[in-house]
């Protein structure tokens, strides 16, 4: 089962855990991204996430389908939040359940790495004295 969501509401890890629960799974790896309080020593106040939602959902589906095909995942749940997030909040959750744990670790890492490369979501770091779109410039 593939469960993809982009939401303006706080993400709930238990929801993703429940989405990948399966009696034939030997384990589930759940990655939680969290908003860090600094970037290169500069204090971050908030993050703002923007997305081209229909395409982001499509690209996240592609990642999940690859995980099912390549790692034999039983279930994949990927939730991403958009809007304004405070330090400590969760912008992304990825849960992968597989028969054996090694595949779940690898697949989960693939998912977050690929999401950061292909999914049309943009993050703006808001500092005390301004804001920067992450990764925009060299």
């Amino acid at each position: 089962m593939i469960d993809i969501q982009i939401s303006e509401n706080p993400l709930v890890p238990q929801t993703c855990q429940d989405a990948v629960a399966d009696p034939s799974a030997g384990g589930a790896v759940i990655f939680l991204g969290t908003v860090r309080n600094q970037t290169k020593g500069k204090k971050v106040i908030k993050l703002e996430f923007e997305s081209y939602v229909p395409m982001a959902v499509k690209e996240m589906h592609k990642i999940a389908e690859t995980i099912v095909t390549k790692w034999g995942a039983l279930h994949v749940s990927m939730h991403h939040r958009i809007g304004l997030l405070e330090v400590g909040e969760i912008p992304v959750i990825i849960a992968v359940a597989t028969a054996h744990r090694q595949a779940a670790f690898e697949a989960c890492q693939y998912a977050i790495n690929t999401l950061k490369e292909t999914v049309p979501i943009w993050k703006k770091e808001i500092f005390e004295d301004g804001a920067v779109w992450v990764s925009a410039h060299p």
Binding site: S51, Y52, A56, H80, P120, I121, W122, A136, H137
Partner: protein
């Protein structure tokens, strides 16, 4: 032909927030569009990457647009 341009993220700031409609030569490609945008908005040159999507799919430089297409500008993504 008329092509609607929809920017996201920093592209929206570079274009001062606006969706615009461009009148391009028939069968203009993504490469042609990229050139026109970089001439009009030189700040696009400074980005790490500049991609384009039509119908929610990334399209490469050689892709030829059609009248009425909506082209989404995808600056460097940074989700997660």
């Amino acid at each position: 032909m008329k092509i609607k341009i929809v920017p996201f993220g920093i592209a929206k700031e570079i274009m001062q927030g606006s969706n615009i409609t461009l009148d391009l030569d028939v069968s203009a490609s993504i490469a042609d569009l990229k050139k026109i945008l970089k001439e009009e908005y030189p700040d696009f040159e400074r980005l790490n990457s500049l991609k384009f999507a039509i119908n929610e799919n990334y399209e490469a430089d050689h892709f030829q647009m059609q009248e009425g297409d909506e082209v989404v500008i995808i600056p460097p993504v940074s989700g997660g």
